[in-house]
Subunit: 211 residues, 3 copies
């Protein structure tokens, strides 16, 4: 079993949040029972799987501990039963996606630091861990990946990751860092979407260049 440190609790919370977002997206696409489970599963484990594969931590995490599959199975059934309540909240998919993003970004940065990677590389790894599950969910459900919409998305991860590195250097206790920086990512994204804040884009011209 997983030891119940704050790190592991956050990891399971992030898994739960992304699994709900995946199940909601799949129900929107009218997939059947197993289709819903598959999208929930891939969304929940996608970021961590890419992270583990790139650093060479194999077999990847969800293969070493059965709790992930059970948790995602329970969350899928829960999401199907309470689908109208979740829908009633209207912004649930956005909310759970954001919670998963915040938590997984920080666990990704932590794993990078633990593997003695350069801090900037660890932040990049955190951003990948946080965003990859959602990108895969959106590609499979034929949505424009959330990462490419007008909202600031990856930027929230980068700021959270930077905060992690700074607090880590300063010597703040680990558990406090986890909470503060996860919340940083989540709050930035909530504010940014609420107030329609966006970064500048740079157009080449009104026409596309020939490839």
């Amino acid at each position: 079993m997983i030891e119940l440190s704050l790190f592991n609790v956050l990891d399971l919370l992030g898994t739960t949040a992304f699994a709900i977002s995946g199940a909601l997206a799949a129900m929107n696409r009218r997939l059947d029972l197993f289709g819903i489970f598959i999208i929930a599963f891939v969304t929940a484990i996608g970021g961590g799987t890419v992270r583990d594969t790139l650093i060479g931590n194999t077999p990847v995490t969800w293969m070493e501990n059965i709790i992930y599959i059970y948790l995602i199975g329970v969350v899928t059934i829960f999401s199907i039963i309470f689908r109208r309540k979740l829908n009633y909240l209207k912004k649930s998919l956005f909310l759970f996606d954001t919670i998963g993003l915040g938590i997984f970004t920080i666990t990704g940065v932590e794993i990078g630091i633990q593997n003695d990677l350069n801090p900037i590389i660890s932040i990049t790894l955190g951003a990948m861990t946080g965003t990859f599950g959602g990108v895969i969910r959106d590609i499979l459900c034929n949505e424009i990946p959330v990462i490419f919409r007008k909202e600031i998305y990856a930027t929230a991860c980068l700021i959270g990751g930077l905060a992690f590195i700074i607090l880590h250097e300063v010597g703040v206790p680990q558990d406090l860092i986890y909470l503060v920086t996860s919340l940083t990512v989540i709050i930035i994204r909530l504010i940014v979407v609420k107030y329609h804040i966006s970064l500048p884009s740079f157009y080449l011209s009104s026409e596309k260049t020939p490839l």
Copy 2:
């Protein structure tokens, strides 16, 4: 060279079936000679490559043995020459996809068991090994991935994987398990498509929730 155990014969048969399905899909998209080979190659080795990468079996299988590239090359040429006969069969793409699915699901479960993974995780690994090549083929050829259509697809893998684990626990000889469970997956899929059987889906509402 590969030792010619039943496991390896099945592996090469599955590779052949998926390569044919890839070559047919590529010819449908009017790709040129190398485009056809590339889609055949990716379809045939996709599932096994993901399986090997996730469990850390690197270099992946097709890199350790030249027979896979040669086999896929020969199958591609064969598919091009006999394309009208294959087309005449009308349902060939579906049929070869199903054969590949059945065989690769079972080899994936077997590799999971060999690596001491939990039985449920091994079934998941088997389902991934069986379906991933076809999903990649469909994404690259711009088709709706077969796994998300109304037919029961992943479900057939899960039932076959479950049968594998049960027969394995009961102590049935390996070779018999391979044959019975591969055929289980194939037959379930054939029956399901023939009789238009499908699992229930759960709609959120008539409109999409805002992401």
Copy 3:
């Protein structure tokens, strides 16, 4: 730091070329600042990451050396500042994509040889390393992947890879091989596109077969 052998200089040149092609594609899609960086990053490191993951060289190269992230960051800013000049050249995206393709194909073949892979497998690995970044760029930017258009693309990689193996067997000095074979790939692609040369394709029929 990276030792500045010709191999490493070429690797950084290929990274630069692909990062520019990614940044141009992202500006075409009107992505914001970080969106541009992300596409530039993924295009530049995609091929090498897949290569490293498949042969088990983890953590992957860009994680072991911070120079890649810095270089891609600088190239992104450079591409944004000089976007009108790059656009003025009209064919810049095509040109930088081709340079990256030529160089990365050859570094992929070399890494295969260094890992004692079969020469034909090394050529396949080289073709994957050369093409994968561009395929990912095109999928993320919602373009038809360059590899599937009418032009000869993967074929150029295969010819360059074959030339590499032959010159290697004959005993030509490494640095000379790198230059000659990278240029071979680049020149073949330039000529092929200029003169609209294409390989034959094989149609199944005027209608698509049912999948």
